[in-house]
């Protein structure tokens, strides 16, 4: 059974304090690892797609990396507006190519 596990469940940072969020996955034949940001009461907003181990993507203060078993979302010098829940999802191989989500990391950045 496909599993996506995110840690920590919650993270509080001071503004400017860099950190990383973890997403470990057990998926049959990975066909993409996706990161989303979700604000309270809204749908997830797409951030990054990673397809192969060693791949990296960057956007402003965020950088996503991928290994064969996990992905990291690095946040450099975060600001209060980066506060949100960050979700990762893994897409498996196969005819339906299901997308399985983790439970998310709730990030709070304090001014």
């Amino acid at each position: 059974e496909d599993q996506v596990t995110q840690s920590p469940e919650a993270l509080r940072l001071q503004e400017g304090e860099s950190s990383s969020l973890n997403c470990s996955y057990t998926v049959s034949g990975l066909r993409g690892l996706f990161w989303y940001r979700q604000d309270p009461g809204k749908g997830p907003e797409f951030l990054f797609t990673l397809y192969s181990a060693g791949e990296e993507k960057e956007k402003e203060r965020l950088k996503a990396t991928l290994t064969k078993k996990e992905s990291f979302l690095h946040i450099t010098a975060p600001k209060p507006e980066d506060s949100a829940t960050y979700l990762c999802a893994a897409r498996r191989a196969g005819s339906a190519r299901q997308l399985t989500f983790g439970s998310g990391t709730q990030l709070t950045v304090l001014p």
Binding site: Y51, A96, Q98
Partner: protein
Amino acid sequence: EAEVAQSPRYKITEKSQAVAFWCDPISGHATLYWYRQILGQGPELLVQFQDESVVDDSQLPKDRFSAERLKGVDSTLKIQPAELGDSAMYLCASSPGGVTEAFFGQGTRLTVV
């Protein structure tokens, strides 16, 4: 910028009543998903369409939930009868297909009382 449209944004219904949600995906997107998200958890797939065909509904409670995408464009998710445990955010997403990313709508927040 193209968006996935969902309506209504909020719905309050009484237990045992019927409720329906509508989704209009991004134009040209062949794959459409319905997810349910309980507060504090990640989205859980209910049903996935490829054009008008269901490709995965293994987690859909078929005794009370139904979904259709008749012309391969917009989609409706129905619950009948609603139960208290159905209170959640119902999210629709679409993707061009294959292994590309999925784009989500703003969701429908359902409260069953």
